[in-house]
Symmetry: C2
Subunit: 340 residues, 2 copies
């Protein structure tokens, strides 16, 4: 009786170990509640303290002045940027080592003016404005010839690396294609070379037929738990038809995405008791050369397990919940699918 | 003024972002004390409860019977193995997906009979016996033709993924070369093809000359903080001269390693206030084909930062402490170097 299964991700070729026993050990899980630790009166992201967060590069406002109250989403430069616009693109060599200035852009998307309102509690029309902010900023960063790619990510909860409680996401634009995106792009290209098909389209087609890992399949945006899920309840949200770039998504696509992402986050909140999580949005590198094989997608990564020496040493994560089981639970939580 | 620097690891080509300001933000650190939560009376690894841990495959004993008290190190099969000896090597194909039985070996090295004695508190002669157990088990696992590689790792503290408090490490033998090891082996081979030299030997030579990242350089085993350190105080312990396989290390090499590793762990304990950590030992894949370019090494990975969406999304870790600063602190803690 086999109780674990090695599965290979068809995009990157990386393996995971999936526990098929469906009886996870309590120690498999990190039950670290997401606390609100920050003092609201000191929060730089709250409405009324716009000056503390810095001058906005974008905001959703109805009838208010820039950098004043009266917004629902606001984008500002990161106050402690890991990447800066200033710097040289030239590398430095020291014997066998190479280094570069930390050149790039690092922005913060403040997702709500309200201190204790997590993204997953926003109604779909408010979630839409967050997606709009991501799209708009990606369109703008793409025009800077120094950047060749950008990644959007979000940290919710200290266990997911969040430093501030007030709900926010981040955009990082890079002078390189960072390794995780690079690995996916090259894997997708290799699949295209072998088959003439986008690997994400191939995944979508197979999952729609198979159904065991399907979480949401009624809109132009679908949600699945990936075959080689790295963590319990990992979920991918992506367009049903080929689309390399999130920044070119239509308003209607953002609407479908706000509905599906909202359902997925609500389902994960219910199943894992409001866990810490990360979001990662991967869109094709800016050059355009990868558009035939790359397909934008958003990863929802609940942070209820801990990376151990096993993951550091082998790169093969052990996932105590199969994606089939996770999808079954998420389907039962989906209001448009009916209850349990 | 550049405050972050992208650095490329010369083995894998992966990048990290190093913060050069040397003034880390308190939120950069995860200050999660390593607690002793387990009830000692229920610990299966304590002396006197040998039956609970399972039959030993190896032990360091003076005059005692197998599976009885009177040992200092004991190796047993993992009670919840992620990899099992039973299973088929044949893969399964389902459309675009591939999977395999979780075939392999998964053993636990109980490093001390005493419940609350962490590895870093063992004297050098006791640490030697742990290294001896790793070496002996690797020699044995290597004889099984189904395994092509093995990784030794250790989780200390819940933040590092430990499930039991009683000090132990683990061996995993795989039917494949897992991705992290594969990436190092292929990177080392590419360096060898370009230069005719082992990349680890090249690193050692440059670090001995440079000195800024040198932690311990007086024995046949050296310790450095790597140029592209992924986390604060990451430290590598490895032989000064080319040696592909830990399992072929001499008794004298193990003696030098027990001294250097003990110093490194004591220094990290002092600098980071007894943090959670992982150890990872990488030895060449069993086949022998990589012996010219691979060089065994042990990574000490303190777990005082949290992976965020940035690391999940880009694969470029942000490290708030430069390896030069970490090495300076560790040198000042080294008794054979003198105090602060």
């Amino acid at each position: 009786m086999v109780e674990t299964e090695l599965r290979r991700d068809p995009i990157t070729g990386r393996s995971v170990l999936i526990d098929l026993t469906a009886q996870p050990h309590p120690n498999d899980f990190l039950l670290e509640p997401v606390r609100q630790d920050d003092e609201p009166a000191a929060c730089p992201f709250c409405e009324g303290r716009e000056g503390n967060a810095g001058p906005e590069v974008l905001a959703w406002r109805e009838h208010s002045a820039a950098n004043a109250p009266g917004w629902s989403v606001r984008v500002v430069p990161n106050r402690r940027p890991m990447l800066r616009i200033e710097g040289s693109q030239a590398g430095r060599v020291d014997g066998i080592y190479e280094s570069w200035d930390g050149l790039g852009a690092h922005e913060v998307v403040i997702e709500t003016p309200v201190h204790d309102q997590p993204l997953q509690d926003l109604p779909a029309d408010r979630l839409w404005r967050v997606l709009w902010a991501w799209r708009t900023r990606l369109q703008d960063l793409k025009r800077d010839a120094r950047f060749v790619s950008a990644v959007v990510f979000k940290n919710h909860g200290r266990a997911a690396g969040a430093r501030l409680d007030h709900s926010h996401s981040q955009l990082a634009a890079y002078p390189i294609v960072p390794s995780v995106l690079h690995e996916k792009v090259r894997g997708a290209e290799a699949h295209f070379d072998r088959t003439g098909q986008c690997v994400f389209c191939a995944i979508t087609a197979q999952e729609l037929l198979d159904g065991r890992r399907m979480v949401s399949d009624t809109l132009p945006i679908i949600a699945i738990t990936p075959f080689a899920s790295r963590v319990p309840f990992e979920t991918w949200v992506m367009p049903r038809v080929h689309a390399p770039r999130f920044e070119e998504a239509s308003d209607e696509t953002l609407t479908a995405m706000s509905v599906v992402l909202g359902e997925v986050m609500a389902g994960i909140d219910w199943a894992l008791e409001r866990p810490a999580y990360n979001l990662v949005l991967h869109t094709a590198p800016f050059g355009g050369g990868d558009d035939r094989w790359f397909h934008w997608h958003l990863e929802v990564i609940p942070r209820v397990t801990r990376w151990s020496g096993l993951e550091w040493g082998s790169g093969i994560p052990r996932n105590p919940v199969s994606p089939e089981e996770a999808a079954r639970v998420l389907r039962s939580a989906n209001p448009r699918r009916g209850g349990l």
